[in-house]
């Protein structure tokens, strides 16, 4: 590895070329052959058997299991028993009532501060978390702008309600995540068990489990809170485990050598050493929680989500945007604050007044906030003054009309989005879907098994094949293939754009700075806000669903690509430059090959994120599984929704295994 980095990289391709493609190819053939041979033998026996027994073509009906029935029965049982069964009376209802009370308490607390008091709290909190110094002042400035804009948009009260829900959700999700992460960080067995659970929690569309949560916990705050917690806890758990596992072994050994007990080591060494990862986990948890704001409104949680959602019913993009912007801004505020706090860890040089450090500084924040709240109470109205608002919906709607009108069909030569969407559907999506559907079921299983075996181990192959089989067993084979074709197309577009933008951003700092807020907005803006413009531009087609997925997944791919290329060993780059490599050569021969692990991670993340918005695709004409999930929720058919949700999870499992970054070694041989 070290050799590869330090040798002048121009030599590398040359060296590789010496053995000649012929020899490499034979190695590939040899290796791949050795792997595929047993599979071929198995297929030779099993496929005819399967075809004779169940026939070719689409997934055989004999091999499906009806899970909707039992699920619907469970649904009934809950409705009939929730007012009398002890499980509800003594446990679940307590949870639900506590959740409501907690959110109400936080909301009332924030509301009691008055708008001046709350703004003071938000700004000072950001400042304190980022350190009371000049850099922290920048973060505080961001906070001030954020809340001024929220007020100006007339969203003050909704913002407050959303923040109250977020505070409780993030707190619960963090605690849950830390608990899980602790267990996974300390026990290998638990770590292995937890991974698929976390994967499911993140890929299972929230729409699918919203219904059971509503039935169990009731509409409004509790269901919204617990769904948000489920979706937001995984990053905290993962990063906590990562931090605990990645702790400097030397420090832990030193701690053990001084006779620390397990608990002492945890509190004094493991946890503090994992602080950076845990803060990153918190950051991710907050972002995930914010992305649930609108979905939470579907079950009556209110707040900004409700504003977005009700704007949709009147097809009012401007109003939706006015509610979407505060969500983005809250995300920016919390992201910058936690990021600044993270940068401080381990590097802080205590200096200046003692008043500005440690608990004294927090006390200072509390005192100033209380003073501001008191002043607010004495002098001003408790809510944001109504005169200080500005209605953006009319100009936004006008702009949207103009844009859609001109872009949809009026672009000279290029045609416009409508034409593109039509051609994309006709020439890419339809052939892809029809091809997948046309393939006999056993052929598809075989292809997946073969691919998975090539990129990984027999376990990878088994998992992916079983997961794909499970889709068939659930009885949603054709719909899943439709969704799969959309996911593949969306992934392709995302990677194409993502790699291009990522490379550009890595090579031009100014471009990256300009992109950053755009990417932030793309990632955190609720998809519901841009549904209408997307449909207006691309029509009710699967192409619209793909656009929505691309918009959501692109930022992560761009970021990972940029970072991967940036972090390429400068020595290797310098060596290439010293040999006179041009900018293009540097990119193609040094940066991209060395950034391969990052690029693979980008692919994997792309898959996960694209799958996460399959449901949103269902709202703009994507149909298939996404539509079924929405239908399950809105028609109260738990069977339909959960089945489609489970199928999405299975597809996610297949695609995740096929793109697993760890499986890269054998793939390299392939490309060599």
């Amino acid at each position: 590895m070290t050799a590869a980095v330090t040798t002048p990289s121009k030599e590398k391709p040359a060296q590789r070329a010496v053995p000649g493609p012929g020899r490499l190819a034979s190695v590939v053939r040899h290796r791949a052959g050795r792997k595929l041979l047993p599979l071929a033998v198995a297929a030779f026996v099993l496929v005819p058997l399967g075809v004779v027994l169940w026939g070719g073509g689409s997934w055989p009906a004999a091999l499906t299991v009806d899970v909707s029935g039992p699920l619907d029965d469970a649904n009934e049982w809950v409705i009939d028993n929730r007012e009398s069964h002890p499980l509800f009376l003594y446990f679940l209802l307590h949870l639900s009532n506590t959740a409501t009370d907690a959110v109400d308490a936080v909301y009332n607390g924030l509301d009691a501060l008055g708008w001046v008091g709350f703004a003071a709290l938000a700004v000072l909190f950001a400042w304190r978390a980022a350190g009371f110094d000049r850099r922290g002042a920048k973060t505080a400035g961001i906070a001030a702008v954020v809340f001024a804009v929220c007020g100006l948009l007339g969203m003050w009260d909704a913002t407050l309600l959303t923040i109250a829900l977020m505070v409780v959700a993030v707190a619960v999700a963090s605690l849950l995540g830390i608990a899980l992460g602790l267990a996974a960080g300390l026990s290998d067995r638990f770590h292995r068990m937890l991974r698929p659970v976390l994967d499911t929690m993140q890929v299972m569309p929230a729409f699918a489990y919203l219904l059971p949560f509503v039935l169990v916990f009731g509409t409004g705050t509790p269901a919204a809170l617990f769904c948000t917690v489920i979706y937001a806890a995984p990053p905290m758990a993962r990063l906590t485990a990562l931090g605990l596992r990645g702790a400097d072994a030397g420090v832990l050994e030193a701690s053990a050598s001084l006779g620390a007990s397990g608990r002492q080591r945890l509190w004094t060494a493991r946890l503090p050493l994992a602080r950076k990862e845990m803060l990153l986990g918190l950051n991710q948890t907050i972002m995930m929680a914010l992305s649930m704001v609108v979905i939470a409104a579907l079950v009556g949680a209110g707040g900004l989500g409700e504003e977005v959602y009700s704007a949709l019913s009147t097809v009012d993009v401007g109003k939706a945007l006015a509610a979407g912007i505060p969500i983005v801004l809250i995300a920016v505020w919390l992201d910058r604050t936690t990021a600044a706090a993270g940068e401080r860890i381990g590097t802080s040089v205590p200096g200046g007044s003692r008043l500005l450090h440690g608990w004294r500084a927090w006390a200072l924040v509390a005192v100033v906030t209380a003073a501001a709240a008191a002043a607010n109470r004495a002098l001003l109205a408790p809510t944001w003054p109504e005169g200080w608002t500005y209605d953006i919906s009319t100009p936004v709607n006008k702009a949207q009309d103009w844009i859609t009108e001109h872009l949809a069909s009026g672009v000279p030569v290029l045609g416009g989005t409508e034409v593109w969407s039509e051609n994309f559907t006709l020439w890419v999506l339809n052939p892809l879907r029809d091809g997948l559907v046309w393939l006999p079921w056993w052929a598809l299983l075989l292809i997946v098994a073969g691919l998975a075996w090539l990129v990984g181990t027999w376990a990878t192959a088994l998992t992916s094949t079983l997961a794909l089989g499970a889709v068939g067993v659930l009885g949603v084979w054709t719909k899943s293939l439709d969704t799969l074709s959309q996911v593949i197309a969306a992934l392709f577009v995302t990677l194409l754009l993502g790699f291009a933008l990522g490379v550009a951003a890595a090579r031009a700092g100014r471009f990256e700075r300009w992109m950053r807020p755009v990417l932030d907005a793309m990632q955190t803006m609720p998809q519901f806000v841009y549904l209408i413009p997307v449909v207006a531009l691309f029509g009710v087609t699967r192409a619209s669903a793909i656009i929505a997925a691309v918009v959501y997944a692109l930022p992560a791919v761009v970021r990972i690509t940029t970072q991967g290329i940036r972090e390429v060993d400068p020595a290797a780059l310098e060596a290439a430059r010293s040999l006179g490599a041009g900018s293009r050569q540097q990119l193609l021969q040094v940066q991209l090959p060395l950034a391969r692990p990052a690029l693979q991670l980008a692919v994997n993340q792309g898959v996960v994120l694209v799958l996460a918005v399959v449901v949103v695709g269902g709202l703009v004409g994507g149909g298939a599984l996404g539509y079924d999930v929405v239908k399950g929720l809105s028609r109260g058919e738990m069977g339909v929704g959960m089945t489609a949700g489970a199928a999405i999870v299975c597809l996610g499992l297949v695609l995740d295994r096929l793109t697993q970054p760890g499986a890269g070694r054998s793939r390299r041989r392939h490309e060599g």
Binding site: S255, S257, G259, S261, Q264, T268, I345, V349
Partner: protein, 359 residues
């Protein structure tokens, strides 16, 4: 070769007998099986899939000495030192501290051992990056359960002792490597242990700083007389610091003796090769180079040197006077050193060769 020494009357601090540490599948069948005893490391790995990091090692560490374990990387020395406090669990054998069996200690006894009796200084320092210098130094005391004010006061004293006064509130990240290792040393000292264990503490440091730190250890040893076990791969460091040196290769001790014994009479070719470039006159003492006085005149007159003085010191005395020097112990002449004897030591000739020259 690895025969323990029973000459010292005092009870040894550490007593290690037939210690094995084997990594790999079914590791515990390796030490018991005499079939494997004669195999080299590669052969053993080929036969069993196991790696024996420590193979049948026995030695004693005496009170107040600096016991150096020296060997190249992979010789098992770091594993060995970790076996002493069971940071790595030995596969078989016996380890005793002050006569108490370490391997049979339960968790809390073992913890007490690590807290109070033996503390360790690590190659990569192992400092807590989120704590200030003084809190790092106080860490061991904190683990013992000492109150905050008390432990900080105590730590501050030790910080001063290792020459870090004024840096109490810095973070490890703001210190140089040498300073960080001083913190590591202070942390080990703060708990006032019976034995200090050093695991290649200075190999990550620059040569000049390494020398400073060695001086520091020598000074501490001189002032406090604490027993130390010191692991190093640096021969000159071993010779400088060691009261006795155990030289390890492939998990075994190939020679155990004073620096002079190692340099003066290497046990085998490996050791000989190892010490070939050592400046022998700096290590060998006059005792090796002397011969009995030829007559009374020789025993009565001439410059005098101590028997423990280095050969280089004797060369200086002989060169200045031009005549053989007397070796005096307790006011009695126990022999003389002359040009011939001193040169033979410098040339690395053994006693028999020396005779041949003399004849």
């Amino acid at each position: 070769m690895t025969a323990p020494e029973h000459t010292n009357a005092a009870e040894p601090v550490f007593s290690v007998r037939n210690l094995w540490k084997v990594f790999g599948p079914k590791a515990d069948r390796v030490p018991a099986n005499p079939e494997y005893a004669g195999l080299s490391a590669e052969e053993l790995r080929a036969r069993t899939g196991c790696t024996a990091a420590v193979r049948d090692v026995s030695f004693d560490v005496h009170k107040g000495e600096v016991f150096v374990v020296m060997g190249l990387s992979g010789s098992g020395k770091s594993t060995l030192v970790r076996c002493l406090t069971r940071l790595i669990e030995p596969t078989s054998g016996a380890v005793a501290i002050d006569g108490e069996d370490v391997l049979s200690m339960d968790k809390s006894r073992l913890r007490a051992l690590r807290r109070h009796r033996a503390s360790m200084v690590f190659q990569h320092f192992g400092l807590l990056p989120h704590r200030s210098v003084v809190d790092n130094v106080a860490y061991g005391l904190e683990i013992q359960g000492m109150g905050k004010a008390e432990r900080r006061a105590k730590a501050a004293e030790v910080v001063e002792k290792v020459g870090l006064a004024g840096m109490e509130e810095r973070r490890p990240g703001q210190l140089s490597g040498g300073q960080q290792q001083r913190v590591g040393l202070a942390r080990a000292l703060a708990v006032d242990p019976e034995v200090l264990l050093f695991d290649e503490p200075f190999s990550a440091l620059d040569p000049l700083i390494r020398r400073d730190m060695q001086e520091e250890v020598i000074r501490l040893h001189r002032e406090e007389g604490r027993t130390m076990v010191f692991i190093t791969h640096d021969l000159s460091e071993a010779l400088r610091l060691g009261t006795r040196i155990a030289l390890m290769r492939d998990g075994r001790i190939v020679q155990l003796g004073t620096p002079e014994e190692i340099v003066g009479s290497p046990a085998d070719d490996y050791v000989r090769d190892f010490v070939r470039d050592v400046a022998r006159e700096q290590v060998m003492t006059v005792r090796t180079a002397m011969r009995p006085a030829a007559d009374v005149a020789e025993a009565e007159a001439g410059a005098s040197v101590a028997p423990d003085a280095t050969v280089s010191a004797a060369i200086e005395a002989v060169a200045r006077t031009g005549a053989p020097a007397r070796v005096m112990e307790d006011g009695r002449c126990i022999g003389v050193v002359d040009h011939q004897g001193l040169l033979a030591v410098v040339a690395g000739l053994g006693p028999s060769d020396q005779k041949a020259v003399a004849a």
